[in-house]
């Protein structure tokens, strides 16, 4: 089993237990990003986390976006490490850049 599939199984178990869940997936990376495309982070409404989308630098910001998506149901595509003024912009110490897709597990 790959680690991204483990994360899905964990997310499914949380969802089956009645918790809203969102899944974040790294969809593109540039430079020295620590986790490759396909890496997943599951976030539950109560704040449980499984998996990862970085070395820990952006998980907090992704979790915030995930909670939004849980509520609205609307997926989001987040850019990290690219200089713009968006609210969830955080720096990556490694100098990498990545895009993270956030979707609700309906």
């Amino acid at each position: 089993m790959s680690d991204s599939e483990d994360v899905l199984a964990t997310a499914a178990a949380w969802r089956a237990a009645g918790e809203p869940v969102a899944i974040a997936t790294v969809v593109e990376t540039w430079g020295s990003s620590p986790r490759p495309a396909g890496s997943r982070l599951a976030v539950s409404a109560s704040g449980r986390l499984a998996g990862s989308v970085s070395g820990g630098c952006i998980e907090g910001a992704v979790a915030d976006a995930a909670k939004q998506t849980m509520t609205t149901g609307t997926p989001q595509l987040l850019d990290f490490g690219i200089s713009d003024e968006r609210a969830w912009e955080v720096g990556l110490a490694c100098g990498g850049k990545l895009k993270v897709f956030v979707e609700k597990l309906s």
């Binding site: 599939e5 899905l8 499914a12 997936t25 593109e28 495309a37 979707e103």
Partner: protein, 234 residues
């Protein structure tokens, strides 16, 4: 992600069937391939992502798609239910490998020594051949007994497994090379065998040797320079 897509991914995982998940990034629309009728460029990208085991991005009709392969786990076939195997098996599981232990000696290959692991008690050539190692499989022989190791290695050499490793010193391996040559295997085929098995980290204890073996399996899988060895002097 809908419950249907999640269930289909889980079903493919249980059946050890490769499947690619395609996500349209503008709105989260998802398809699974194989299993859905997709425009040729998307289907081709899905097939390639599965073959290369690497995620991909594609723009089709002005829409960005993320193509996420979900392959069955890599496999590790351990021949010899020995002490080093007891250390190697849990490490390989943690690294995401599906592990099978082969040893006809029932006193060694017991559920008590290898809890929850698939154990095969057949003779090692039959067992390895039946497991049909493929390009996502590694085979490691640890019995240190030519009667058990050699038949397993001969079966592995006829497969396209990505890694073959054999426990034993350089001298032991030189004798092994002579036997395999005698048995008709080419020098090129025999050179596929990593021996002495494992990266040279001066490992001493069983867990350290297991770590060196798993490190070499990963290095080979990922194409690391560390996994390349100079040919043994004839």
């Amino acid at each position: 992600m809908t419950p249907e897509v999640l269930a289909a991914l889980e079903a493919a995982k249980s059946a050890k069937r490769p499947v690619a998940l395609l996500t349209r990034l503008s709105d989260g629309t998802q398809h699974l391939w194989p299993g859905s009728d997709l425009p040729a460029p998307l289907a081709e990208a899905a097939a390639k992502a599965l073959e290369e085991d690497a995620a991909a991005n594609l723009t089709q009709d002005g829409e960005a798609w993320f193509i996420h392969p979900h392959n069955p786990p890599l496999r590790l076939i351990v021949v010899g239910a020995v002490h080093i195997a007891q250390a190697l098996v849990p490490m390989a599981l943690a690294a995401g490998y599906a592990v099978t232990v082969v040893d006809p000696r029932r006193a060694w290959a017991t559920a008590e020594r290898f809890p929850g692991i698939t154990l095969i008690h057949e003779w090692t050539d039959d067992a390895v051949a039946a497991l049909a190692p493929d390009a996502r499989s590694a085979v490691v022989t640890l019995t240190h007994d030519p009667k058990l190791d050699d038949p397993a290695l001969e079966a592995a050499l006829t497969s396209d497994c990505f890694y073959i490793g054999a426990l034993g010193s350089r001298r032991t391996h030189a004798k092994r090379v002579a036997r395999l040559t005698e048995a008709g295997h080419s020098a090129e085929a025999i050179a596929r065998i990593h021996a002495p098995v494992g990266l040279n980290i001066e490992a001493v204890t069983a867990p350290e040797i297991a770590l060196s073996i798993l490190a070499e399996v990963v290095a080979t899988r990922r194409g690391a320079a560390l996994a390349q060895r100079p040919a043994l002097a004839a």
